[in-house]
């Protein structure tokens, strides 16, 4: 506990978050690796999460955003499956939209696409990705929480203590990913706990358990990072050169995510910030500027009272 580098606790690579948070004998840091290349968009993760964590309904909407009707992560959406439709091929896969029409012997009806020339038709791919709280190494939500309601668990995850949160809402704009949010009728903030209750019992989180394709993989972060690196290599070899990891690097702006992803396009396409930086990186400088401003106020008004009484 004594050799903690204070600056490293605000920004940069941090080797052992749980130990730095005061757990001398912490288990390995646990996390998620969400491999979106094998996500089939079934939303079992969303459902399992809601069921296990008693997350209330988040709006019965029809958004027109492909198959995505839960829109974004928030107080009542802790797993969110995104759907992106693109006129693009997926590796060597061929969408089949440009195939020569096959005569099915049906009455003469034109089918969509029939009238197109081959070079007018388009390719198509459908990206699906289950988003979740990133459980950052440098978690802004946790750092700015004034009550200590947000805390670092022994597994290195970030969890809200609902019996402490007073709903000040500071964590909401602090999160660079737009994850945590306030549940209006409840007054407190909520987000993914990485199923802290299940982890304590040696179980995997509900979403990972429910995922039928193991797009959501749970385990010690070190292992997940190794596995993810292999997976990217494998995909590149098979021609899916779009594959890239997101949030796995301990050297990124948040010190690496506890929940990271394999994406098939730029992060922006998935609504993810391409280079998030934890706001507390600049906090020492912010306090210095605030101190200088306070001194300016004091000296400035004192100056105005100086001199002779008029």
């Amino acid at each position: 506990m004594t050799d903690i580098d204070l600056k490293a606790m605000l920004y940069g690579a941090e080797h052992d978050v749980a130990r730095d948070a005061g757990y001398p004998d912490a288990p390995p840091r646990m996390g998620f690796f969400t491999d979106t290349s094998i996500c089939i968009g079934c939303k079992a993760c969303e459902v399992a999460c809601k069921e296990w964590n008693h997350v209330p309904e988040d709006g019965i909407n029809f958004t027109g955003m492909s198959y995505d009707n839960s829109v974004s992560l928030g107080a009542d959406t802790w797993r969110h499956v995104k759907f992106i439709e693109q006129p693009k091929s997926l590796g060597n896969n061929f969408a089949g939209l440009q195939r020569a029409p096959v005569d099915l012997g049906m009455p003469t009806l034109t089918r969509p696409g029939d009238e197109l020339e081959a070079d007018q038709a388009s390719e198509f791919r459908w990206l699906m990705a289950s988003d979740v709280c990133k459980h950052c190494t440098h978690a802004a939500c946790l750092d700015v929480c004034p009550t200590g309601a947000l805390f670092r668990t022994e597994f290195g995850t970030v969890v809200v203590q609902q019996d402490v949160c007073n709903g000040c809402g500071y964590c909401v704009p602090a999160c660079p990913y737009g994850v945590i949010d306030k549940r209006e009728d409840d007054g407190r903030v909520w987000k993914c706990t990485l199923c802290y209750d299940r982890l304590g019992e040696g179980q995997e989180p509900a979403c990972a358990k429910a995922c039928p394709t193991e797009s959501i993989q749970f385990g010690p972060l070190d292992e997940l990072r190794e596995r993810a690196a292999k997976r990217v290599e494998q995909l590149h070899e098979s021609g899916v050169t779009d594959a890239r990891l997101y949030g796995e690097s301990p050297d990124d702006g948040v010190g690496g995510d506890g929940a990271f992803f394999l994406l098939l396009d730029e992060p922006e396409v998935y609504g993810l910030p391409p280079d998030p930086v934890v706001t507390t990186r600049d906090l020492p400088s912010m306090w210095k500027h605030a101190a200088a401003a306070a001194a300016t106020l004091l000296a400035g008004i004192a100056l105005c009272f100086g001199g002779r009484r008029s």
Binding site: P146, N166, G169, G271, M286, W287, A294
Partner: protein, 339 residues
């Protein structure tokens, strides 16, 4: 079933090795076109990555404008008034000193009330003092209020009642010492977020806020003090306005992320506040020394300007969080310049 325990994986399923984009390749069905080969080929040039259906990346601040912009305004008014009170007391301007002390107590009470009102669970406001966290500006602010509030209270009550003058003097000086921090820490409160317009302005925000707090306290002094005592607050009105306008100018010069300060509702509010600041400071420098009415007009304009500034900056933060381009473009540019 797979089970992932702390001891490792049991019974992995084979699905996670599925080779998308390789399986079921139908190369012969691909239209032969030019030099196209297998692998990643684009039909159209890659569009500049935009966003996910135009949805914001960040979650919008859940604070209410009335509560939090009001909290900033009243906190600033109180903090700077305490400095004015000490200056007035030490130079024998009793009416100015008393009005500034009463203002400080009233404003900080409203301020704390607004802060509690904004909580999702106001009955748990005391959890703010459960820990002390320098990484949380709101924690630091809560402790500042816990120290400053009683000092401002004792300063005002001893002045009004005439009781315990020596305790009153200490409280006045303590409040003047803590007041500037109460006025400036709110710059960190906004800056220590992921909201681009607020975060990128972290160097300037505390100066905008202390300038704005100074004109508010000066304005109140101009309203309350007789002409014979208002010379210092006339000067501080001008000084505060200069600091605020200069800091605002810099704050609004961060390129794309500063756009919300000039646009839509935030732009309108901030333009109005600047006009009022200039008008108020000009009147303070000219008419307010000669006419009670002029002093009152200057004071009113300066108070209004200070309040509107906080609402404008608050609103700019909402606009900044609502449009994904403010979050995404600077980050993409940063990545590209890094290569």
């Amino acid at each position: 079933m797979t089970d992932v325990t702390k001891d490792g994986l049991v019974g992995e399923r084979p699905g996670r090795e599925a080779m998308i984009g390789a399986h079921g390749t139908t190369e012969r069905l691909r239209p032969r076109r030019g030099k196209r080969r297998g692998g990643e080929q684009l039909m159209v040039p890659p569009a500049e990555p935009v966003s996910y259906y135009g949805k914001p990346v960040l979650n919008r601040p859940v604070w209410s404008a009335g509560d939090i912009a009001g909290y900033l305004f009243t906190g600033g008014l109180a903090g700077a008034s305490s400095v004015v009170a000490a200056g007035a007391e030490l130079t024998g301007r009793d009416t100015l000193a008393r009005s500034a002390k009463v203002t400080a107590l009233g404003a900080i009470s409203v301020s704390a009330g607004l802060l509690v009102h904004d909580l999702g669970r106001p009955d748990r406001f005391y959890n703010m003092l459960r820990v002390f966290k320098p990484t949380s500006p709101m924690s630091v602010g809560s402790w500042l209020l816990a120290g400053y509030g009683p000092a401002a209270g004792v300063a005002a009550l001893t002045d009004v009642t005439g009781l315990f003058p020596r305790i009153g003097r200490s409280a006045t000086l303590a409040a003047a010492g803590l007041g500037p921090a109460v006025a400036s820490y709110t710059g960190v409160l906004f800056a220590d977020t992921a909201v681009p317009a607020w975060h990128e302005a972290y160097r300037e925000l505390p100066f905008v806020f202390v300038g704005s707090a100074t004109i508010a306290a000066s304005g109140l002094g101009l309203l309350a003090a007789p002409l014979a005592e208002n010379a210092p607050v006339r000067r501080s009105a001008v000084l505060g306005a200069l600091v605020e306008l200069a800091a605002s100018h810099r704050m609004e010069g961060h390129g794309l992320v500063s756009e919300p300060y000039a646009e839509a509702k935030a732009g309108r509010l901030l333009r109005a506040s600047k006009a009022l600041t200039v008008a108020g400071a000009f009147t303070a420098a000219t008419l307010a020394g000669r006419s009670r009415l002029g002093a009152a007009a200057a004071g009113g304009a300066l108070l209004a300007a200070s309040a509107i500034t906080r609402f404008g900056i608050f609103q700019a933060g909402l606009q900044s969080a609502d449009d994904p381009k403010y979050t995404l473009r600077p980050q993409r540019d940063r990545l590209q310049s890094r290569g």
